[in-house]
Symmetry: C2
Subunit: 331 residues, 2 copies
């Protein structure tokens, strides 16, 4: 795909950054000099766990809703998600005086439904044995006139997500660091694609990698195959935030054109990375957000003598589950 | 105490800040707009858990050791501590090409001894039934010629600690916030005293409070009594980092002259605050570092319509203990 055909450019990301300023948090880029010394390289951690709603997703949702017409905002947003994207859309809609309708399976955890409702959003449930979520969203979109805010496959959502990378490069420069590689947790591939677009123009020497759960490495395998290939059915991972069936048609062509490759982490690697982040950076990292750290610790990326940045995409993990996951792996 | 008689001035803190720049971390000042909305005020959290060695103590230790003569640095540092100050002194000595001897009771936890040794420091143990730590430090100081680096009662240690407050006021200004009150966890009182000195000159309208565990509120009661009064013997708290017997003679006169007062938090309040910080700020807060957040949540300080900052002084709590403490209180 020639660069001119990418759905967004660096300028689009910069426009989103200006609009998000003051509403979303410019999250810290953390490092630990003593960990760096033991790794023999420099590890920079973009802590989007400290973002509003606990994840980076609000960036894309806010920019998408802000770009709606007044009439569209009055009709409101609709999306499918039981996780961070649901929280981001709900909160962004509330901030912007719009409303959100979140489609969730009727067996979604009560705590997740309560979190979405606490942000003022409505929930529409469906029976996953009878319908698929795309059909439900499309049916309700037509019934209500609400505007779809997909989790990654939309230019404005991508531009919002790209502001994470913009901040990383600015903050790294302030730390006197030149980033050799950025590791992005990869589900739908939006954060990965937008990071690659930003890196390409602001830091051309920087490699961008997609990092996925070992059993959900559809992007890595698709990059190798040269076409979109799905994950096998019926597998599980603790990385619920990035369990996607197949790369989507908006983000994959960008990733195919720009990425250095794909890396993976097992669930055990991820739990160890969550513990590592707790102990050395004192941050709470949800499983799907820990794959980048995990790929450094499991040796899939060489950090020796280099500077590697990774995005901790969110920190939305129940304390009980956090304690249980981090103990399973080490005790 | 007239201001001219304070052991340090704002200029001393500024000098320390210049020297610490590039070695210690300028830790983030976190806030959560959604928590603020529910509190009806603005809560700013200075995350010193993200500091090197996981606590603010390295700031004072580094500045003290940097101010030694070359001969003194060759002889090395000595101090008593089984916690954050030991880590700070050990790491600062290592960075500066000096050495540290840490005095610890012979029943100190093996993990704490291992952490200190991993930073290259030596440990001297003693039997707490036969000697007190002051006598041991003094005996070993005379035997070895090492220079004492106390945890708070020294001007350079105070100046180093004061850099936390300097950053808070600078970072708050960047956020467009005027701070009405700063809540400092208070053990020996060094962070509290140095914060009060910085606030007095850079933000005169800001009140500074000492926050202590409910059963170890020696500073609060001493402020009320107008003289140093000890804590009762034999009590316990989960806030091990700030369990001090009585205010010391260096910091108490400063605190007496400058503080707005003392606040307290029960162990249950502290555990709830640790959970709150995990859930809403995604940070790891050790018990003694959570008392400021606890004093907001338990209503001892009014945040309504105001901006309140607190220092999370450290995040050095074992994952096992963290999970156990935060679950006791809520399940």
């Amino acid at each position: 795909m020639p660069a001119t055909e990418f759905p967004i450019s660096l300028n689009d990301v910069r426009a989103a950054a200006r609009a998000l300023n003051g509403t979303v948090v410019r999250t810290p880029l953390l490092e630990n000099a003593d960990v760096n010394a033991s790794l023999g390289g420099r590890l920079l951690i973009k802590a989007e766990c400290a973002q509003r709603t606990g994840a980076f997703k609000i960036r894309g949702a806010y920019w998408r809703i802000l770009n709606m017409t007044a009439e569209e905002r009055a009709l409101g947003a609709i999306t499918y998600s039981s996780g961070n994207h649901a929280l981001g859309v709900s909160q962004a809609a509330r901030i912007l005086g719009s409303t959100a309708l979140i489609v969730m399976p009727d067996d979604a955890p009560a705590a997740k439904m309560a979190a979405v409702r606490s942000l003022g959003a409505e929930i529409a449930t469906f029976d996953r044995d009878r319908e698929n979520y795309d059909d439900v969203v499309e049916r309700l979109r037509q019934e209500t006139g609400r505007v779809h805010v997909p989790p990654s496959a939309h230019p404005q959502v991508l531009s919002g997500a790209g502001t994470v990378a913009l901040e990383i490069f600015e903050q790294a420069e302030a730390l006197g660091a030149r980033i050799d590689a950025v590791l992005t947790p990869c589900g739908g591939g939006g954060l990965t694609a937008s990071t690659a677009i930003v890196a390409r123009e602001t830091s051309p020497g920087t490699q961008v990698y997609a990092v996925e759960p070992e059993l959900f490495d559809d992007t890595r395998r698709s990059l190798l195959a040269g076409q979109r290939v799905p994950n096998p059915i019926g597998l599980r991972t603790i990385c619920d935030a990035i369990m996607t069936p197949i790369p989507n048609t908006v983000t994959f062509p960008i990733n195919q054109a720009l990425l250095a490759g794909g890396l993976t982490a097992s669930d055990a690697d991820v739990a160890a990375a969550m513990r590592f982040a707790f102990e050395h950076y004192k941050i709470v990292v949800e499983p799907g957000a820990a794959v980048g750290i995990a790929a450094v610790l499991n040796g899939q990326i060489d950090i020796s003598g280099r500077t590697v940045a990774t995005v901790v995409t969110g920190g939305n993990v129940d304390l009980d589950r956090f304690c249980s996951l981090t103990h399973q792996i080490t005790s």
